[in-house]
């Protein structure tokens, strides 16, 4: 059961500096949203919060409980030198079925092979991680995502440092997920890609500049507004007064203002 996700006056940040400032919007179930914005606009931070890896400074996210969430971070902390086979890495995607102790049934093993086939790594099961190129590794991670069969998929710049051919193949999988009714948020820096493949877009510049259908969002006016956002945090910014204006929110962390 896929639920809509409400972001309620969400403020996220580090050391009192908000990376995402008072963001409020609703993600309809099954939407495929391209998240764009200049550097430092809070895109990765937003995804981290949705993946429940980051506590909000203020505000809440509703609708995440009970959902299976798959998250692909931008800079993978995966130890590429770890002595494990591709097949075993991909099989970890079935954790929600197998758990820490269970073994893989023949059916599950076949699904792993199918996933590898889908991403074009059909013969790579026995290879170890250190023999994969960047593109091949990213494909393997997508195969794992496929097996996770999550309701909410969060992808942070999945095609950075990946060749065009791989990008096209993986974008096709994104469409597959969309058709299957999953909610997908993907951070991309390639605007044409967003316009072609994402029906909805979120233009983020700490707060939402625009959110909705891609063509309405990615207008020159909006893009101009977003570009005016300064990248650096202002050390001398005063404490944000809005933080005090919503007392019913769970213990807000006092944070600084965001200067335009």
């Amino acid at each position: 059961m896929v639920h809509p996700i409400h972001l309620d006056n969400l403020t996220l940040g580090y050391e009192r500096h908000p990376a995402v400032h008072h963001l409020s919007l609703t993600l309809a179930p099954g939407s495929l949203v391209g998240v764009v914005g200049p550097n430092g606009s809070g895109k990765s931070t937003l995804l981290k919060a949705l993946a429940r890896l980051l506590q909000p400074m203020q505000g809440q996210v509703h609708g995440l409980t009970g959902q299976r969430i798959a998250y692909l971070p931008q800079h993978s902390e995966i130890d590429r030198g770890f002595p494990i086979r591709v097949a075993d890495l991909v099989a970890m995607g079935l954790w929600h079925e197998v758990g820490a102790l269970g073994g893989l049934t023949r059916g599950q093993r076949r699904r792993c092979e199918d996933a590898l086939q889908t991403v074009g790594l059909g013969e790579f099961g026995h290879r170890t991680l250190d023999t994969l190129s960047g593109g091949q590794f990213q494909r393997a991670l997508f195969a794992r995502l496929l097996l996770q069969d999550a309701d909410l998929v969060l992808l942070d710049e999945p095609f950075a440092a990946v060749d065009t051919r791989t990008t096209q193949d993986l974008l096709a999988i994104l469409s597959q997920w969309h058709r299957a009714g999953k909610t997908v948020l993907v951070v991309l820096h390639d605007l044409p890609q967003v316009m072609t493949h994402c029906p909805e877009a979120l233009l983020l510049a700490r707060s939402a500049v625009a959110f909705g259908s891609t063509h309405d969002v990615l207008t020159p006016v909006n893009l101009q507004r977003a570009r005016r956002m300064t990248e650096a945090w202002d050390e001398s910014a005063p404490v944000c007064q809005d933080a005090m204006a919503f007392p019913e929110s769970p213990a807000p962390v006092s944070h600084r203002e965001v200067m335009p």
């Binding site: 130890d79 770890f82 002595p83 758990g99 820490a100 102790l101 170890t128």
Partner: protein, 301 residues
């Protein structure tokens, strides 16, 4: 385990293989048993240690357990049992404390552990000096492979059993915790269990190893077999199995070397491990010699 009862009738095969000393002497059999327990227990832990880049932990921990041993000494005198128990507590505090810090702050695991063990060692030296006695506690605490009494053997076997069981249960979470901790945290709550569980197993193996076999052997079995195996296989289950086999092989070689060439036993075993490591570095499949492309014909594209 009465020495005379365990002596098997001399067999021609044993003599031929050079394994006669094990048939004749109870203490050699016990030494081998102790080494077997350490091989199946410490070597797999050592593989994970190597993959987590914590190989120097063992030596650090040998010093970090001092305050526990010191308190044990204060309470019960030169009782090896009391000091081992104290050492175990101190080791657990150091390991778990540093794990906690590493998980909840910016501090990385290796520095966290170093900080904790140094503080622990300083406290230990303080306790020892304050009470005025100059018994070298750690010298007394550390055993030798030739002197394994029943208590020490049961301790080793017990720890080996707990370790094998623990690794069997924690295998998948532990692999993920090393490989992709973010993923593990996103799909399950096993991350802290795997992390702390591993640290507990590490301390158990170290302290039991110190007590029964001394620092050199305990740390040696942790580091060297895993390192040697790394030159031969590239997959983790193979690493775990091969490191244990290497450890056992080196134990037999070292014990025989100590027997026939009159060398002190602990060093002889660790040197055998070292020779295995150096040999593997050259002739192993991932070793120096095999990296030369001319030696391996390549496949068609």
């Amino acid at each position: 385990m009465n020495g005379t009862a365990m002596a098997l009738p001399p067999s021609i095969w044993l003599h031929w293989l050079g394994l006669a000393p094990f048939a004749e002497f109870g203490f050699m059999q016990r030494a081998l048993l102790g080494c077997l327990a350490l091989s199946v227990s410490a070597s797999p832990i050592g593989v994970f240690l190597m993959l987590r880049r914590m190989s120097l932990t063992g030596d650090a921990m040998a010093h970090g357990i001092l305050p526990g041993a010191a308190v044990g000494y204060l309470l019960s005198g030169l009782s090896v049992g009391a000091m081992t128990l104290g050492g175990l507590m101190a080791g657990l505090v150091v390991a778990i404390g540093s794990g906690l810090v590493a998980r909840s702050t910016v501090m990385r695991e290796d520095t966290s552990l170093a900080a904790f063990y140094l503080i622990s060692l300083a406290i230990g030296v303080l306790i020892v000096s304050w009470r005025g006695s100059n018994v070298d506690l750690l010298h007394v605490l550390f055993g030798t492979v030739l002197a394994l009494n029943n208590d020490a053997l049961w301790l080793m076997v017990g720890v080996a059993s707990i370790t094998l069981l623990g690794l069997a249960v924690l295998y998948r979470p532990l692999v993920l915790e090393c490989l992709d901790p973010v993923f593990l945290r996103s799909v399950s709550c096993w991350s802290p269990v795997a992390h702390y569980g591993f640290l507990v197993l590490l301390v158990l193996n170290l302290v039991a190893g110190f007590h029964a076999l001394g620092t050199l052997m305990a740390v040696g079995f942790l580091v060297l077999p895993a390192a040697a195996a790394r030159f031969w296989v590239r997959e983790i289950t193979a690493l775990l199995v091969l490191s244990s086999l290497f450890a056992l092989l080196a134990s037999v070689a070292g014990l025989l070397l100590s027997f026939h060439a009159d060398l002190p036993t602990g060093p002889a075993i660790v040197l055998s491990l070292g020779a295995l490591y150096l040999g593997s570095m050259f002739v192993g499949r991932q070793g120096l010699l095999c990296q030369r492309p001319s030696l391996q014909p390549h496949l068609k594209a």
